[in-house]
C-alpha cells in the first residue's frame, strides 16, 4: 500500500538504527504521546533497534484511556434513559465504569451501537426520528473536526434528535500539565502525527521554549518513528531542543486550517477531566451556546453516584508515563484483553494492550527487573 509499505523497509530501518546508535551518547528519556505510536513501537520491535541509552515511556495519547470514569458513568447513565440510542466508537463499549459498562448496559436492554464515523451516528438519528441519538464524543484534535462537522450537518439538515456528549480533549495543554508536574523527567517528546495534521506544529513551541524539551512530530510507520527518534537524539545531544516535523508528507506547520476553523465554530475551549491526571484547564472542548441544542449535557440530566476507580488498576499512572504496564500487579494476571480491568487494556491504543499483545521478552529488553518484580 502506497505511503505505508515503503516506510516499513527493513534495510532502511537498520540504516537509521545505526545512525541513532552512533549519535547517542547521553542517557535520555522520550515519551511517545500517542497510543498509536506505543503500538507501532512494540509491534515493530523499535525498542530493540534503538540503543540502551534511549528510554521510552508511553503518554496519555489514548482517548478511550483518558476518559474519566465519572464521564464514562454519565455515558452509561444516558444509555439507560428511555428512547435513547447511544452511538460510540468501538473501544468505549468495553471500558469498565464505576459500576457497569456500556456493554453491560446493552446486555441489560439499552440501545448502544458502535459506529465507525460520526456520519453513521447522524444517519442513525435520521433513521430513528422518535429516538434521541447521543454520540459519545471522545477523541483529540484529530477527531474533533469530524464531530463538529456532524453537528453542523445535523443543524443544516434540521435533525432534531442528534446529540453529542462532548468529552473531546486537547493535547498541548495536557503535555503542559505533565511537564509542569515534573513527575516524569523527559528529554524529548514524540509528537502526535495525526493530531498535528489538524493543528500543525506551532502549538508545541512552548515545549522547547519553556521546558527545554525536544519535540518531533512523527508518522506511524516504523521508519517514521525511527527518523523522529534520530532527530530527537540529535537535538538532545546538541542541547538545542526545538519543534520539528518528521512526518512532512502528512503534517504542515500551519495544520489543516479549514478543519480547525470548523472545530472552533462549534466548540469553545474549557476544562476537561483526564483519568489519572484530573481537571486540566483549557484542555477540553465544550459545545458553544449557539449549538447547545445538540449538547447532551444540556438536553439530558442524569443522577450519578460517586465514581470509583477499579481496585489495583494503575491506568492512571500508565497514562502519565509514571509506570510501565509491567509494573501493574494486575497486568496479564487479572487484567487481560478478554477481561480488562482498566481502559489501557481495552483500547486498541492503550499501552497495556500493546504490551500484552507485542510484549515478547526480546521486545521488552531493559524491563526484566520490572517483570521479575511483578512475577516474583
Amino acid at each position: 500500500m502506497k505511503f505505508i509499505d515503503e516506510y516499513q523497509d527493513n534495510k532502511l530501518a537498520r540504516g537509521l538504527a545505526y545512525k541513532i546508535a552512533k549519535r547517542s551518547t547521553k542517557t535520555i528519556r522520550l515519551m511517545e504521546f500517542c497510543g498509536g505510536h506505543t503500538h507501532a513501537i512494540l509491534r515493530y520491535g523499535i525498542r530493540q533497534l534503538v540503543p540502551k541509552t534511549v528510554e521510552m515511556r508511553s503518554g496519555p495519547g489514548c482517548p478511550v484511556c483518558v476518559t474519566a470514569t465519572a464521564d464514562l458513568d454519565k455515558a452509561i447513565a444516558l444509555a439507560h434513559l428511555p428512547d435513547v440510542i447511544i452511538t460510540t466508537f468501538g473501544d468505549m463499549i468495553r471500558v469498565p465504569g464505576s459500576y457497569s459498562s456500556l456493554q453491560q448496559a446493552k446486555a441489560e436492554g439499552a440501545d448502544v451501537r458502535i459506529v465507525y464515523s460520526t456520519i453513521d451516528a447522524v444517519e442513525i438519528a435520521k433513521a430513528n426520528p422518535k429516538k434521541s441519538v447521543i454520540f459519545i464524543g471522545i477523541g483529540f484534535e484529530t477527531t474533533a473536526p469530524t464531530i463538529a462537522a456532524s453537528i453542523l450537518k445535523a443543524q443544516q439538515e434540521k435533525i432534531e434528535n442528534f446529540y453529542v456528549l462532548s468529552l473531546n480533549k486537547l493535547t498541548p495543554p495536557v503535555m503542559k500539565a505533565l511537564l509542569d508536574s515534573g513527575e516524569v523527567k523527559l528529554d524529548g517528546i514524540i509528537g502526535p502525527g495525526h493530531v498535528s495534521v489538524i493543528i500543525g506544529s506551532h502549538p508545541y513551541e512552548f515545549i522547547p521554549r519553556d521546558y527545554r524539551v525536544a519535540c518531533v512530530i512523527s508518522g506511524f510507520e516504523p521508519l517514521d518513528i525511527l527518523l523522529c527518534i534520530d532527530k530527537l537524539v540529535e537535538q538532545i545531544e546538541k542541547g538545542e531542543p526545538k519543534v520539528e516535523i518528521a512526518y512532512p508528507r502528512g503534517v504542515r506547520a500551519g495544520g489543516n486550517r479549514k478543519a480547525w476553523q470548523l472545530t472552533e465554530r462549534v466548540f469553545e475551549i474549557g476544562e476537561a477531566n483526564w483519568r489519572g491526571i484530573g481537571i486540566v484547564p483549557q484542555s477540553g472542548l465544550k459545545i458553544r451556546k449557539k449549538y447547545e441544542r445538540f449538547d447532551a449535557d444540556e438536553a439530558f440530566s442524569v443522577s450519578l453516584n460517586l465514581s470509583r476507580e477499579p481496585k489495583g488498576c494503575r491506568c492512571g499512572d500508565v497514562i502519565r508515563g509514571a509506570a510501565m504496564p509491567l509494573e501493574c500487579k494486575l497486568f496479564r494476571k487479572v487484567c487481560t484483553p478478554e477481561s480488562p480491568v482498566g481502559p489501557c487494556m481495552v483500547s486498541s491504543e492503550g499501552a497495556c494492550a500493546a504490551y500484552y499483545q507485542y510484549g515478547t521478552p526480546e521486545n521488552l529488553q531493559g524491563f526484566k527487573a520490572d517483570m521479575e518484580q511483578v512475577d516474583g
Partner: protein, 75 residues
C-alpha cells in the same frame, strides 16, 4: 483513535469522494479537505479525509532515508 490511513481519491461528488486502498473502495467525506483533487492520497480518519498527502515531501523523506542507509553501509 487517531488512526488515519492513506487512501487514493478515485472520484469526487461534492464534499464526498470515492476512495480506494488495496482494492477496497469506500465513500468518505472530504468536507475537511476541500483542496483534495482526483488522484490525491488523503489521510482517512473515521470516515473523513483530514489531510492531503504531500507526495513531494513523501519522496524527499524516502530519499533521505536511503541516503542514511547507504552511509551506514560504508562503515
Amino acid at each position: 483513535m487517531c488512526l488515519a490511513i492513506p487512501v487514493k481519491i478515485v472520484s469526487i461528488d461534492g464534499d464526498e469522494a470515492e476512495t480506494e486502498i488495496a482494492g477496497v473502495r469506500r465513500r468518505v467525506s472530504i468536507a475537511l479537505t476541500p483542496e483534495a483533487k482526483l488522484g490525491d492520497y488523503v489521510l482517512l480518519h473515521t470516515g473523513y479525509a483530514i489531510g492531503v498527502i504531500d507526495e513531494a515531501e513523501a519522496n524527499e523523506t524516502l530519499k533521505l532515508l536511503e541516503e542514511i542507509a547507504s552511509l551506514s553501509e560504508v562503515h
